[in-house]
């Protein structure tokens, strides 16, 4: 009987497993529609013409497009009835069905499940390369781009030479890469002018001795006048200033390349970095460097320096220059950092000093750019669309070309909303025709369907014209001075394998040396280990890439 029960139990289990295994989707496979499997042959002579013809949108057809709204980019969910969605529906004769996706991980689930919207976005070249090779993204042949996105195809290459090379996977274009518009500007260097004034310093430090003097006075001479020893010269971001004062740009979380003697060198292993570390260690030992520099300057992990806003430190150099734009000087938008200081201490805000980098031993001033040339955020078209409805893909390209490449007014409308309702042309610091958003509007740009929703990659020139407020501020505050671009901008082949570990090694070693856990002599061991862990390979690739570009 027991044996019979066991046999019956086994049969039940096996039958359940068989039922589970038999549960397959009855949806059609996606591969059957790919051209290479249909066995079609196209006459070689008119292949390009046929392709262009295939992608040609029907002007009388109302296309229904599943338009991606990636909320970690655009900032808000967007409804189909949103103001700007209706605007674009009417302008382009389409019906946009906004697919709100919270972040890239959620989009990856949709892609894996075959539910991706008609537009796909991904971050990082590795991820872009993967989904291109997995046949998730549609190839965008140059003939198609020329035909249906001519402004972008020609303009992006013209304004950013080598642009289309950054979008190629195995020699084919699959989407648009994002350009960082503000690469001409460096990170801002903001000194607390109120404190410096109280310490008898009338201008922002520009030499090493002045900087050193300012640091020690800020830490030792009670600039906040509260009889408590609670201020410091600098904290985490101020270390960038120190490194650049020694002649090396050594950013916190990435590898930086500088030109030297006809080649490129990795700054974090240079002798200048060692000298800077030695000085920083002295600042730490003398309690001039904020002991909490390890955790950063922001209380909540953002990029705005709470330590500087609260008057704890005397200098900060955060990542985005437009976070430091003064109030009451006629600029379109006050920087977030200035807003914080203004609410805390209006006098301090009015006396902030927007300084240049410190002159280094070579006699030059150099500083890290606020961003790299490219954002490596890719946007492309779902391959299913290109296979089943190529004319819809052509329509999407036309929409992108109009919004991002035709004229500045359309671009401003895409970002802000309708002119006269949400923004007007105004004069800013003597510069005429500057688009400025109206204040006190209900609903953010993102919620109404503006902000980044319709953008793929605007032409830099149009962006400068259609959204110029940050460029005006950047030029007025001399944020271009001393900007040193990273000598290697493209991802190196070995970076994906070694970079993360090398950066971690660098951070750990630097912290240990500064806090005294390891002596400065450890730097030489660090260099040796760095090279062994893949650093030498990356350097060799960088040198050959640099020489190939010259």
């Amino acid at each position: 009987m027991k044996k019979l029960n066991r046999i019956i139990a086994c049969i039940i289990i096996i039958s359940m497993l068989v039922m589970l295994a038999a549960c397959t989707s009855s949806s059609e496979t996606k591969e059957s529609n790919s051209p290479e499997k249909t066995g079609e042959t196209v006459p070689a002579k008119s292949e390009e013409e046929l392709l262009v013809e295939k992608y040609k949108p029907d002007p009388n057809k109302t296309y229904e497009i599943d338009w991606l709204n990636l909320m970690n980019i655009n900032g808000s969910p967007v409804e189909n009835t949103a103001e700007m969605v209706q605007y674009w529906n009417e302008k382009f004769n389409v019906r946009l069905n906004i697919i709100n996706v919270e972040k890239d991980d959620a989009l990856n689930v949709l892609i894996a499940a075959g539910d991706a919207p008609d537009i796909i976005s991904t971050r990082g070249f590795a991820a872009y390369q993967k989904i291109a090779k997995d046949k998730v993204l549609a190839e965008l042949p140059e003939s198609i781009l020329k035909a249906y996105a001519p402004n972008l195809f020609i303009g992006l290459e013209k304004e950013q030479p080598g642009y289309w090379n950054t979008t190629k996977v195995d020699g084919k274009i699959y989407g648009f890469n994002s350009i960082s518009y503000y690469t001409i500007y460096r990170k801002p260097i903001i000194w607390n002018g109120l404190y410096l004034e109280r310490l008898g310093i009338t201008k922002a430090p520009s030499t090493f001795d002045e900087m050193n003097d300012a640091f020690y006075k800020l830490a030792k001479n009670d600039p906040d006048q509260n009889n408590v020893d609670d201020t410091y010269g600098l904290s985490r971001t101020g270390l960038d200033l120190v490194f650049s004062a020694f002649g090396a740009v050594v950013p916190d979380g990435k590898l930086f390349w500088q030109e030297k003697d006809g080649s490129v060198v990795l700054t974090c292993i240079q002798p200048e970095a060692k000298e800077a570390l030695n000085y920083i260690k002295k600042l730490y030992d003398d309690k001039v460097l904020d002991p909490e520099f390890v955790t950063g300057e922001s209380a909540k992990g953002g990029s705005v320096s709470d330590a500087f806003i609260n008057g704890k430190i005397g200098v900060c150099t955060t990542s985005w220059f437009f976070q430091w734009v003064p109030a009451n000087q006629g600029f379109v938008a006050v920087g977030v950092g200035n807003q914080g200081v203004l609410k805390n201490n209006p006098e301090m805000e009015s006396k902030l000093m927007y300084a240049d980098p410190i002159t280094n031993p070579n006699g030059t001033k150099i500083y890290e750019p606020c961003c790299d040339n490219y954002g490596w955020r890719f946007r492309g078209i779902n391959k299913d669309v290109a296979d089943k409805e190529p004319d819809k893909a052509g329509k999407i390209l036309q929409i992108w070309d109009t919004v991002n490449g035709s004229d500045a007014h359309t671009l401003t409308t895409a970002i802000y909303g309708s002119e006269g309702k949400r923004w007007d042309y105004t004069t800013v610091r003597g510069i005429k025709n500057v688009p400025a958003k109206r204040l006190g509007l209900a609903g953010s740009d993102g919620v109404i369907g503006g902000n980044m929703l319709m953008l793929c990659q605007p032409l830099p020139s149009l962006y400068a014209e259609g959204y110029p407020q940050n460029f005006i501020a950047g030029d007025a505050l001399n944020y271009r001075n001393g900007m040193l671009p990273n000598a290697i901008q493209v991802p190196l082949p070995s970076c994906s394998e070694y970079e993360a570990e090398l950066i971690k090694l660098k951070k750990d070693t630097y912290m240990s040396i500064i806090t005294g856990k390891k002596p400065i002599e450890e730097f030489d061991n660090f260099v040796e280990q760095f090279l062994k862990m893949g650093g030498q390979k990356i350097i060799d690739e960088a040198v050959s890439t640099y020489k190939a570009s010259k």
């Binding site: 970690n72 499940a113 539910d115």
Partner: protein, 292 residues
């Protein structure tokens, strides 16, 4: 002499215990009080640390929340989700646990074993998504309720509780002519309040806090739950480093006070609900954990 020594020792220990527990309680209560204080503070004052009493009280943060369209719909959708979940989860769990509590159920151990298997292994996120989509549940509240309807852990706790109920009660009811359903709903369920309250609490808290499933299955913002909006507001300012190209949105940031108010807005109902079921919580878990 010995008694006074023991008494003194006991007093010292109790005092030390009480002090430690008070300090521990403070570390738990303080963040909540800090957030409450920040939610009523202006942006200037809330930049200062250790601010338990707001220096400049403002209701602007809450006004902004109540005027934000999606916050109200989020609340409504969350309550809808929880209401459905409470009824269906309890019903399904009871109807699963009760038969499995009967030793005379054929292949009881096999069925239990198969259910326990699902606690450790699952198909993964993508197959689950495909299943939900193919059932037509995407963008509906059912995608948030049905996939996790029966928690194996809760079912086992409930099963164990049912097993501890004397069988004589059921037998006497059956002698009086009651069928199995009547026995279950009129005899067993009324005396199982502790475990039902426990499962109810877990269900409510679990569904109230859940956001990942809503993020995956719901793309229509009018059907989205509160926690997804909360997450978005709270962390939106911290994404700056990832968004080199989003230079348009990065010129603004969500004020800390608004973040704090959003958190209070989202957690207050659970904080109010918990004291009513607290007494059942520990009792229910301990009773349900006896014997297998």
């Amino acid at each position: 002499m010995n008694k006074s020594k023991v008494y003194l020792g006991s007093m010292i220990f109790d005092t030390f215990n009480i002090i430690m527990m008070l300090l521990f309680s403070l570390t738990i209560i303080y963040p909540f009080l800090y957030l409450a204080s920040m939610s009523f503070s202006t942006t200037a004052t809330n930049l200062n640390p250790l601010n338990l009493i707001p220096r400049a009280i403002t209701y602007e943060n809450y006004k902004t929340i109540f005027n934000t369209k999606f916050m109200l719909t989020g609340y409504i959708n969350t309550f809808e989700r929880i209401s459905l979940a409470i009824v269906l989860v309890l019903l399904a769990t009871i109807l699963t646990a009760y038969p499995l509590s009967k030793k005379y159920l054929p292949y009881r151990s096999v069925i239990t074993g198969l259910m326990v298997f699902t606690m450790f292994f699952s198909g993964g996120l993508i197959p689950k998504y495909i299943l939900v989509r193919s059932l037509g549940l995407r963008d509906t509240v059912w995608s948030l309720v049905l996939p996790g309807l029966i928690s194996t852990y809760s079912m086992l706790i409930m099963r164990n509780y049912f097993m501890s109920i004397p069988s004589e009660m059921e037998e006497s009811a059956k002698v009086d002519g009651a069928n199995d359903y009547r026995v279950l709903f009129q005899i067993i369920v009324p005396i199982s309040k502790p475990i039902i309250a426990t499962v109810l609490l877990w269900t409510v808290v679990g569904h109230w806090n859940a956001w990942f499933d809503a993020m995956i299955y719901i793309s229509d913002s009018s059907k989205q739950v509160l926690q997804v909006f909360l997450r978005h507001i709270v962390i939106s300012g911290y994404m700056e480093k990832e968004l080199e190209e989003s230079t348009v949105m990065m010129s603004t940031s969500v004020p800390e006070g608004l973040r704090a108010a959003t958190i209070i807005y989202a957690t207050l109902p659970v904080v109010c609900f918990y004291p009513f079921v607290q007494k059942y919580f520990v009792k229910g878990i301990m009773v349900g954990s006896l014997k297998g």
